[in-house]
Symmetry: C2
Subunit: 327 residues, 2 copies
């Protein structure tokens, strides 16, 4: 099988790659793997059959090149994050929306040339940013999309494209709307949600972290491990069973920042928690006020998607998978 | 004021033009009017200040030309219909989606060049085709978009684009989701919904009409007169009062085909009704089964949009406004 990962250099892309290589994902670990990103994706030592491709998905010629590989399975994770898409309006639309459309058009050409037999499976990482306040207490599977960021609008549009290209039989796609991925390893990024990971990760590494919002802010989380599992689970599903509704809210853990902090205290103790320094940032407060807090993900559960069930589990996964070890 | 009507040669475009020219719309009837379409729009005799423009909105150069007019108010009605967009996939995406995006990009350039002072109002005719079955008994203002046609997906995407460009302050837009417009004057068109008008219009003109679905099919209608009123009412609203939710389901009349026929009987008598010939068309039956039946349009009413309240009124409006008179 030929598998293309777009956005393979990113954190979730790397988790996905490692999960496929582990042989535990249900995806043939001896597949030809094409790792595409704007920078060279890291290839784990000992991994055979990986080709590293570098290019910008906003360029239609690049999209065509990727479609010309005729992958059987495409994971489309390539995107700039919410903060960057707000600051760089044109870049966001070109990469996050137009790039996806160019890819779909190039895949459709191969579908037509094959007489209809080429119909790749495509799993797209959408986001809960497709939703915008005001919300019901829990967002159900039929709540409408009113994004309040360009990033959210771009994700919602790609969902609609994927649904229509799937309905026509050109591809076989599913958009999975990821919760905020927490605890992200590594450094803070430009996403306004970055602090949700920072207030756990930095203290666990002995570093102070700024908490820019009130601790009664409630939000929706899943671990990087869950993100990789959602992706591979989606790839092994019979997507036709989903009918024409090809976007799914993924399961997650709803908790307040205070509950996050209590989970950290119970896992790592008081001294670690003391490294969290509250310091309101009105800009971030305002952005986060428009974000979803809780979901009722019945449909995802029906199709076998499962996440952590409390925030302590999410912290323990960070400790197991990602905490930098002192060498 | 400079007003641009895109899709001005179409039936709704012409109704809109006449309403503006009537001086009853709240829009200055002495505005400079630019009438754009793929064919020359008809200009009513005696109408001054109308410029007729011909071109294809799918061409980015055409979109730029229209934006260069720097209209204060844009009515964007230009689109190919649902049936055609299903048959001609690429053409549908180019005209109905890409064309709108090109226009927005060209308007954004003028916004930037003006230092932010140029922010045109834009009213877009979206459609209830953004919704796809299964539905609740009545679709509320927060029901999600799951289009089951390319046309519906294209409309839903343009809605998302307009919301984001409005949120950023580049334009000031509203998408109005029109019910099926009934009774359309003139000839049947490629829309699968064409028969809803045909079974009223043809008999009233002494011609037989095919009814291709069961008479218990329920659907959502408004008159051409209402469509023009929705558009001009939208143009005179303070759209900022709508916040970030810039798509509105328009009011209409929910009735079954049997109720349509009874209304026709009561307006025009038995002999006219006898011209309706039931003849199932499985293709149309299948398409129509995925269509909305009824709406609860609270938000539209709050903002002052009103339609007919029963189907007899809709038929009488056809008789008043459109029935061809014998000369």
């Amino acid at each position: 099988m030929r598998v293309l990962i777009m956005g393979a250099a990113g954190m979730v892309g790397q988790k996905l790659l490692n999960r496929i290589l582990s042989g535990e994902s249900g995806i043939d670990s001896s597949s030809e793997l094409y790792l595409h990103d704007i920078v060279s994706a890291h290839v784990p030592s000992g991994a055979d059959g990986c080709s590293v491709l570098v290019g910008n998905v906003a360029d239609p010629a690049e999209a065509k090149k990727l479609a010309d590989l005729k992958p059987d399975l495409i994971f489309h994770l390539a995107s700039i994050v919410s903060g960057e898409a707000e600051l760089e309006f044109e870049k966001g639309w070109q990469i996050n929306m137009s790039g996806a459309w160019s890819l779909l058009e190039a895949l459709r050409v191969h579908h037509d040339q094959s007489g209809g037999s080429y119909r790749p499976k495509l799993i797209f990482t959408s986001s809960i940013a497709v939703f915008g306040a005001p919300f019901p207490a829990r967002i159900t599977d039929e709540f409408f999309c009113t994004p309040q960021t360009s990033y959210g609008a771009q994700k919602a549009i790609v969902e609609l494209l994927l649904s229509d290209y799937s309905r026509k039989g050109f591809i076989d796609a599913l958009s999975i709307r990821l919760p905020t991925i927490c605890v992200r390893p590594g450094k803070p990024n430009l996403a306004a949600s970055s602090f949700f990971s920072g207030i756990i990760r930095e203290p666990l590494n002995g570093v102070e972290a700024i908490l820019p919002v009130s601790d009664n802010v409630r939000h929706w989380h899943a671990s990087p491990r869950s993100a990789a599992r959602f992706l591979t689970h989606a790839a092994t599903l019979d997507l036709d069973a989903l009918g024409s509704r090809r976007a799914l809210n993924m399961p997650g853990v709803s908790c307040t920042v205070a509950e996050q902090i209590e989970a950290l205290r119970s896992v790592a103790g008081n001294d670690v928690v003391k490294l969290i320094k509250p310091q309101l940032d009105e800009q971030i407060v305002k952005i986060v006020a428009g974000w979803p807090r809780d979901f009722q993900t019945d449909r995802a559960h029906t199709f076998g998607f499962e996440s952590e069930t409390n925030f302590e589990q999410i912290i323990r996964i960070y400790l197991e998978d990602d905490l930098p070890t002192v060498s």
